[in-house]
Symmetry: C2
Subunit: 765 residues, 2 copies
Amino acid sequence: MTKLRYLAGCLLAFPLGALAAPALPASTAPAAPLTSYVDPMIGSINDGNVTVGPARPFGMIRPGPDYSRVANSGYVAAPEAPLYGFSQLHVSGTGGGAKYGNISVMPFSGPIEAIGHTALREREHAELGYYGVTLKGSGIHAELTAASKAAQYRFRFPRGAPMALELDAGRLLNQGTVPLQAEAQYLVGSEIEVVSATEVRGHSRARGGWNNGGPYTVYFYARFDQPIRAVRTWKSGKLDARARRQSDTGEDTGALLGFGAARGRPLQMKIAISFLSSAHARENLDAEAPGWRFDAMLGATRAAWNALLSRVELGAGATGAQRRMFYTGLYHSMLMPSDRTGENPLWHSGEPYYDDFYAIWDTYRSSHPLIMLIDPAREAAIVRALIDIQRHEGFLPDARSGNANGRTQGGSNADVIIADAYVKGLEGIDYEQALAAMLADADVVPGGNEEKEGRGGLADYNTLGYVSSRYVRAGTRTVEYSLDDFAIATVARGLGHTALAQRFARQAGNWKHLWRAVEDHGARGFIMPRRADGSWIDEIACSVPGAATRAYAPHDVDIGTCVCWWCGFLYEGSSWEYSLAVPHDVAGLIDAAGGPGPFRRRLDTFFDGGFYNVGNEPSFLTPNLYHWLGRPDLSSARVRAIVQRHYHDGPDGIPGNDDSGAMSSWLVFRMLGLYPNAGQPVYLITSPLVGESTLHLQQGSALHIVARGFGAGAPYIGAARLNGKPLARAWITHQELEGGGLLELDMVAAASGWGAGAPPPSMSP
Amino acid sequence: MTKLRYLAGCLLAFPLGALAAPALPASTAPAAPLTSYVDPMIGSINDGNVTVGPARPFGMIRPGPDYSRVANSGYVAAPEAPLYGFSQLHVSGTGGGAKYGNISVMPFSGPIEAIGHTALREREHAELGYYGVTLKGSGIHAELTAASKAAQYRFRFPRGAPMALELDAGRLLNQGTVPLQAEAQYLVGSEIEVVSATEVRGHSRARGGWNNGGPYTVYFYARFDQPIRAVRTWKSGKLDARARRQSDTGEDTGALLGFGAARGRPLQMKIAISFLSSAHARENLDAEAPGWRFDAMLGATRAAWNALLSRVELGAGATGAQRRMFYTGLYHSMLMPSDRTGENPLWHSGEPYYDDFYAIWDTYRSSHPLIMLIDPAREAAIVRALIDIQRHEGFLPDARSGNANGRTQGGSNADVIIADAYVKGLEGIDYEQALAAMLADADVVPGGNEEKEGRGGLADYNTLGYVSSRYVRAGTRTVEYSLDDFAIATVARGLGHTALAQRFARQAGNWKHLWRAVEDHGARGFIMPRRADGSWIDEIACSVPGAATRAYAPHDVDIGTCVCWWCGFLYEGSSWEYSLAVPHDVAGLIDAAGGPGPFRRRLDTFFDGGFYNVGNEPSFLTPNLYHWLGRPDLSSARVRAIVQRHYHDGPDGIPGNDDSGAMSSWLVFRMLGLYPNAGQPVYLITSPLVGESTLHLQQGSALHIVARGFGAGAPYIGAARLNGKPLARAWITHQELEGGGLLELDMVAAASGWGAGAPPPSMSP
């Protein structure tokens, strides 16, 4: 209802029911299950950093091989990288200092006399829900699969070989070597206990990692299908032949377990985790892995994924490579955040609990809008979890992992997730409470915790209208807070809080306060650093030896070259990028940049002149800015070129960190030919990269997208019809999408002028 | 060394070695052990809120009876208050919302069919290390004693009675009834498991309480000396006849344990806690309670206390009442903070770990200076723990409990503890690191977390020189930050950081920026509210219905009457109190108040006119301010009158919350006739309340204080000699005290003019 009120302001009512339903082609069941198109190795190299191990959608456990002690995903492709073991928690696609890597199990063959077994790979194979590898030397074949909170392992030893496992509760990825190293993980304590001949329990408690978070504890309970015949435990690296238990005294602990000689059947292990206790991990194990049916767990995992993947069908014309790119993209988009409902050690409430928002700065643009389409109930649960975090801890997270907020990269972008849910009518959320959570972002100064949560530089922003040079990342912050304020205004207006809505609509124009009339490479007007007294700054602080300051130009990327990471004027980007990152007010941006002509030239220079960074989220929407110039054909051309150049179905098929699926979800939307402008109920249309697709929606409706005449010779949209009615604009609303039906796009060889009128919405400042 | 440099500025070198050592009287061993003078019931009523259960010095476990579900200590004297059980953690002397009360055990006689057994008292008895009570109806006699991490219980049932225990892992003191209630405790989860016929383990995880802290987990491991014959566990109040384990799913859990009919010997239970795991609790149990020797644990506890109490001997002339007041005061002063070294679940470091600073605002003035005298190694460990907390969490605590900083009452008073350690030459502390920790207080804005830690209103303070009316508690904060800055200046100067020292010495005068020339009851000049633009405010915000603002006068106590607790201009006090609370600059205060004459009249009005609040820490030093007027005799008269009127050796013998020993340590110093000015190496001398005392000091030296002619007819000091040499000033230095020897005070009937010259130090502004 409130959503309809919002929509009424920007489009005409569309009496869908009055239309004769066009004939839809019968849904073609794909020959292979969709899960077979998911290749967990896509994005595993070239800094994609995806986890290659098995996982359920939004699963709590994410086991996988660790071929490195520092890599974010634990995975390294280089054959000379030794396997250290399989640990139970990983994040996917992240950069910076690694997190997790807790509770490692390493099979080896031989006496249980020493710690630190490693092995090289002979061959490995990953598919959805499954990872297998054969170890050089020992010939052990290890396989793993995962449910939501439990994983199962199968270790095949050569007949007669002594079967042994090294179970390490004290190892973490990226362990710090000196105290209080930023982004390093530190062990706080660990525990291991051989409870019976077939059971081991314990925990790993750690702090730090990329988000510099406080302590989190991963409890585990493991069972074996064959009795443990010999045990040595250790603490602080010192082996103990007698103790079956090493209690937590703040040190590393582990156990070497001997199972006797292999007699032809594999040694199996199943393990569950919990964030509450090892007794609860035991219950998770009983619930998710009652027997020893490796294939049953794998099958259930495939089924869980298939239910999600089948929400989108690609037409018969899609190639295998396209299907692999597309469904792997969908898969990557739904690995995180981690559903930890019922596993919150911080407070007890009836709300869902999610962790590993890593980071919302990456995912608010395309990941969350995609989850909203594929699984709206999931998105509602995630939003409720965000609100519950704010209620109990004071701030919405921008990044959160290990049960701790930590690292606001740019803005308080959870605001945009909430607004996106609101304008798309997502049900089950208390939006008044949501608005209260957003207002904490907007009004509560995080002070010394500004890297952890909230809006750094807020005191400036709320008095000067911009973040001055007194604060780091002042440019990013100002630009993004403007968008976040647009999100707040949107929700406030919808809920009838007029004065609030006016305040935040006004603040949504704050990016203009850093807009300076400087020229660079033919473009005029850029987001530039400014002092609190209003004067502009031509230089930025520099910590490079020999230079206290350095001239700053819009094309400069200051991080890493002049100042520390996180200390620059703009976060991970140049002013060329951020000066185009005003998705809520593109019309205002075009004005500020000198009008349509200069803006068109600026966009061309951006893409052709090397200023576009495919791996950087602030530029996710930029290829679409041609839409606001009435030239969606140019948007299509840019998108197509970007995908063709940077994405494919190989291990290096993702250009840079996947960022918990941000890059992957971007690709999914681009292949469909729709792209969301998060926080607005709008999808921008560009030429699809597949000829036909069907989105099965929550309500039972489906949107069938057909690109008539699809092919290399017809890259442009010449005309469009929605349910048979001509569609002159190059965008559709969420309401139209949800209504389902047929979106027909007539593909043509040359730009046709279609979509020249009715640009996508822009706020009126 | 650096300490000597500091001292050189304020006093002459005192060549102790050159003196002939005066003959010291032989130390008289008291007839009874000193522990027998400790009465845990002193302060148990009249809001004293001390815990009456057994405890080791700075012990981690503090078991005790809970006669209330909300009382801070769990204890209520009213005979109609039922016993709910004995829980394992309490804090002593605190106010506000209660904390802890975890893991409750309640004996009862009968079938194990229902939860929630209670019983009235028949008779109870508490002594140091021991609490015993007989229950009405069942006739069960329960006794408890405690070591540091373990407690032991003895339950005597009438012969033939069915012996049963209710072990509740889900109950807490002051549990919230609606979500997110300030100061209420909330259960996050709990777990219980009957591990064997004689063992139960589990945990209690909670958050909230007075300091609104995040979650903490208390793990336990319990053993019984007789086998459990019947078990019923429960979860969420629902009994389960089969399960011997209720794992943590975020709910309350517990167990009813039946032990069969009593056969004449008591049922014994021993229980240890840990903050790391129940396996570690088990090790704590094995370490501290290897057998079933209740009396051995009690004896060791008595011995541990006796070692501390015997650091101060009172002369033979002291009465039993005086000894009870004195040694109970010493006892109360060393219950907290809690030594949790080796039990830190937040990070692993080589540093000591202490919790339950509750609050430093209460204890920095007299508790810490007393611990420093009695057990300097302990104080050094505490200071190191504070610094380690700051290193890992960003801020020194003002209050901390349940492993979480929370509630800065007034200033960042840990700064004063550090300065006090520094100027008294406390060894084993990295003072450069300590200074860095203090500078975080002084320079890092806590923002939205300003109630949790750091200095609220710091942005104002560091620009305007005072905290303006934009912030709550602006008066308290400004006055206390001035003192804290004096502490920082002291350490910075000593370490040779001249510019820093100058900055903070300047800031130490910031209290003057709120000094307004208003008159009240004949005094002129008070700490008054001021706007950021420099203008003064005559009214304060008022949330009482029908009044938006209210006139504000120096004699008003605004809390609770007009605005919310924590929201007033001054924290728990009037401007009359805070306008005398500038302990680092009393000379400057006398000037500001119009000179010695008006200041003398002001002090008299303060005490005689009802403005003095004996239970309020900001006025702890105020009776001594006559010292700076050259009238230590008036200080003596005030102190004597206060003690006589407000303190005695009964259950209501402490006037208000003991505040983890703050009131008690004040009394101890007052009885000795010495009072510290925390942060300065100085003790102010007033007439002792006992004729003779001996302080045994760390170095093996002893200071023997003899009041010659002590008695009711000779309340004043006529002359003083330190080691035979006349002492004209009414104060001694820490160095003099540490040097030991004989301090002779000649007591006389009338004020003599002694001490009129050489007032105690005051900073030069």
